[in-house]
């Protein structure tokens, strides 16, 4: 296990793709301190910004566990490309947490910056605070979003959560911003509370479940029926009844949008169309 303590309050963005169990694997404290990171426009060493503490256990674990104690809200790309192991952060985290990760687990006990779990392929990210915009969304311009794995947010999220998603699950226990599931073509987004609207714009496939208030459904969605329950994942079912909408018709999409009936009486006029 490796403990990292930030040595100061960071003023500049820090690019630290090297904070990953794959990179730390098999390295001792000195080697970890020598890893290169960027602070603003200057290249530096990890040891100059973090106090590294290595705790060796008797039996060597297969993959390293990293624990960060403190505020790292300026530190970007933690857990980039990780293929196993675990990162726990006791504090806020910066942008691009777990970018393109393939496996392993990241637990953040604070708020998380934009693009958390961006383009991830597998593994789990658990966020106990709020997540910002572009949760699990691809880099600007790209259409290759999340392709697997699971993100659980216990707080709220910003806009465009799960944009261009293809596979996997995003579970938001709080509220979601605008455009969740923008251009998604697979996978599941489960919003347990309210949503700011424009759900599933340009979606082609996949499903989005809104378990709270949704002011309106995009005009390019059509009502398909009323469902009693929806399967979220193995052993988890959301109880309804739900309005089921299909869309987005501008893209000839067949994505499924479930909206809880109880919390959205203003959508009842759709029932006439059934």
């Amino acid at each position: 296990m490796v403990n990292l303590y930030p040595l100061k309050e960071f003023r500049f963005p820090i690019i630290a793709g090297c904070i990953s169990p794959d990179v730390f694997q098999g390295k001792n404290r000195e080697e970890i301190e020598e890893l290169e990171i960027w602070e603003g426009n200057k290249q530096g060493k990890l040891g100059e910004l973090f106090k590294v503490e290595e705790i060796r256990k008797e039996e060597q674990q297969e993959k390293t566990t990293i624990v960060i104690h403190g505020d790292v809200s300026k530190v970007r790309r933690i857990g980039k490309y990780m293929t196993g192991g675990e990162i726990t952060i006791h504090g806020d985290v910066g942008m691009h947490l777990g970018e393109e990760m393939e496996d392993g687990k990241i637990i953040a006990h604070g708020n998380v910056g934009e693009w958390a779990g961006s383009m991830m392929k597998g593994g789990t990210i658990e966020i106990h605070g709020n997540a910002s915009h572009y949760l699990g969304a691809p880099y600007r311009g790209s259409s290759r979003g999340m392709r697997g794995g699971k993100i659980v947010v216990h707080g709220n999220t910003g806009n465009e959560a799960g944009a261009c998603m293809k596979k996997g699950l995003i579970k938001i226990c709080g509220d979601a911003g605008q455009f969740p599931g923008l251009r998604m073509h697979g996978g599941t987004i489960y919003i347990q509370k309210d949503c700011d609207g424009r759900v599933g714009g340009c979606m082609k496939s996949g499903k989005i479940i809104v378990n709270g208030f949704l002011e309106s459904v995009l005009p390019t969605f059509t009502i398909e029926g009323i469902k009693k329950k929806v399967k979220i994942e193995e052993n988890e079912v959301a109880a309804g009844p739900f309005y089921l909408f299909l869309g987005d018709l501008t893209e000839n999409g067949k994505g499924k949008l479930y909206v809880l009936k109880k919390k959205n009486p203003h959508l009842s006029n759709y029932e006439k169309l059934l």
Binding site: Y139, R140, G141, S142, S143
Partner: protein, 542 residues
């Protein structure tokens, strides 16, 4: 054998005691590489850069003491383009499509492309002036205007893209054969091709017409390609080429739709092997994420509909059109795998390496940085087999590649990547190491006597990825993946001298005012616009 260099040229000999010596024993010495077709500059490329931020963020180069920073994998920024070419031992690059209206932008970017000599081809196949004069049969008049255009846009050759089709695209249509009528002009692609081919001869241009065929990227288009080659057959004389079909891979599809797609290489190779008036380049597909960009607006629209990817499309006033679509070639996709196979079949089935050149039509079929990989495929059957095992099975069963045993040698590669291209381009001082040639030299660390490229294709690939020395104009500019010196390359352009040059009449000004957004006076690119200008004077016959 020694090669002596003085004053940027290769000379008979120099004083040995005072000269700097490079020991290249056990290595391959070739002339600097030449790329006949690579989209590296201009408004189209720049729009591609804007369209693709996701292409940049993974591939970036930091600033060093000698080089500038840059980004981009399939559409790299200008400086990075120059550096990467130099690292591979390339010293001359041709930018193949420049809408004349965007000439200034193109030359600004070419000025900023270091390390390589370059030139650009203006798109003339759909220019209204050309269409009108050809329709009226006024070949000489047409030639005078083409000469004016080449000189005022500082171009190097006549580029024709989907002749007539781009004009039709202005009104949302396309042409499906070389005998279809162009709307509003009553002229056919056949007449445009033949007309411009004759204009090209009248002007004594060093390069032939550079043609992107009609119907590009459609199943069954190998027949159009054959028609295109045949239609200028009787204009050839003295066994000299009169037409260059570019990125022929995209024009060699057989079959009635995408499901029945097959390779049409057999017929094309048979024709090219029996005729000497054609040269081709490959347009080899690389399995990667790239950006397609051509002046062929209708084709790019089709590609956008096929792939569902984001796109840009543009109709350039009276001259041409353009389109850009990001594209990913996948091994497991039937069509892409067949395309991969077609490119290699072309290079291997055409017997004479002076007729087929190595390109990826950068970035349309893949970035130019993949050239070493293509060299490995061409020189090693084993390398082809390894890739073939990974591609779509149905494509493999339809491919001719397993039946082709031919493996190219180093001399053939040198012709396909250098000598052949310069001969086709009419660049006399490049592409060879004879006395009087420009001292553009690439040295690769591979010993042809001890290394069998057929078996050691990975060593071969690595050797061609980074030249040990790249010498440009007699100076060592790069080597071993490093840039030693940031040099400016020259921009070559044709100063076409006609006996009766075009005068800017009131009539012409009126037409510019009516049909262009640019006034006639602001249109030409003056020579002081080019940072390192290298005019090549040609005397025309009109």
């Amino acid at each position: 054998m020694d090669i002596a260099v003085r004053g940027g040229k290769i000379v008979e000999k120099v004083k040995e005691s005072r000269a700097k010596k490079i020991d290249a024993s056990g290595m391959i010495v070739m002339p600097g590489g030449v790329d006949i077709h690579s989209h590296i500059a201009g408004s189209e490329v720049n729009t591609g850069r804007l369209l693709r931020p996701e292409d940049h963020f993974k591939d970036f180069e930091r600033k060093t003491l000698k080089t500038r920073s840059g980004v981009g994998y399939s559409v790299p920024s200008t400086f990075t383009t120059g550096y990467r070419y130099a690292k591979m031992g390339y010293t001359t690059v041709m930018n193949p499509s420049m809408p004349p209206l965007e000439a200034k932008h193109t030359h600004e970017e070419l000025n900023d492309t270091p390390m390589v000599d370059k030139a650009t081809y203006p798109l003339l196949g759909d220019w209204w002036f050309v269409l009108e004069y050809l329709k009226n049969g006024e070949i000489e008049e047409c030639a005078r205007y083409v000469a004016w255009m080449i000189t005022s846009t500082k171009g190097y050759a006549i580029k024709i893209v989907n002749p007539g089709g781009l004009e039709a695209w202005g009104s949302g249509r396309n042409l499906s054969s070389i005998d279809d009528q162009v709307p509003n002009f009553g002229i056919t692609p056949r007449e445009i091709l033949r007309g411009l081919c004759r204009v090209n001869k009248l002007l004594n241009m060093p390069h032939t017409i550079h043609v992107h065929t009609n119907n590009l990227g459609k199943p069954g288009n190998y027949l159009t390609t054959l028609d295109t080659m045949k239609c200028v057959e009787n204009l050839a004389s003295e066994n000299k080429p009169v037409i260059h079909i570019t990125h022929c891979q995209f024009s060699a599809f057989k079959g009635s739709d995408w499901r029945t797609l097959k390779s049409g290489v057999e017929e094309i190779a048979k024709y090219v092997n029996n005729h000497s008036h054609v040269t081709l380049d490959m347009g080899q597909v690389i399995f990667t994420d790239t950006t397609t960009m051509t002046a062929d607006g209708p084709f790019q629209y089709t590609l956008h509909r096929l792939s569902g990817n984001k796109w840009v499309n543009h109709d350039v006033e009276t001259e041409t059109s353009a389109g850009i679509v990001p594209f990913r070639y996948r091994r497991k996709n039937l069509v892409h795998a067949i395309q991969w196979s077609i490119g290699l079949e072309l290079a291997l089935q055409i017997q004479n390496p002076w007729k087929i050149f190595m390109t990826t039509d950068h970035p349309n079929a893949g970035p130019f940085t993949s050239y070493p990989r293509i060299i490995a495929w061409l020189m090693s059957r084993k390398a082809r087999e390894v890739t073939m095992k990974k591609i779509n099975q149905r494509a493999r069963s339809r491919s001719l590649l397993p039946s082709i045993d031919r493996e190219l040698g180093f001399y053939e590669i040198a012709i396909m990547t250098r000598a052949g291209q310069t001969r086709a381009l009419g660049l006399r001082n490049k592409g060879h190491l004879g006395v009087g040639a420009d001292a553009d030299i690439a040295i690769y660390n591979i010993n042809p006597e001890t290394t069998n490229p057929s078996k050691k294709y990975k060593t071969l690939r690595r050797a061609f990825e980074n030249a040990v020395y790249t010498i440009k104009g007699g100076k060592i500019v790069a080597g071993n993946g490093q840039i030693y010196k940031d040099v400016k390359g020259a921009t070559m352009w044709l100063d076409v001298q006609v006996s009766n040059p075009v005068e800017i009449t009131e009539e012409m000004k009126r037409r510019f005012r009516e049909y262009w957004t640019v006034e006639c006076e602001n249109y030409p690119v003056t020579e002081n616009y080019l940072e390192v200008s290298h005019p090549i004077t040609v005397k025309a016959e009109v």
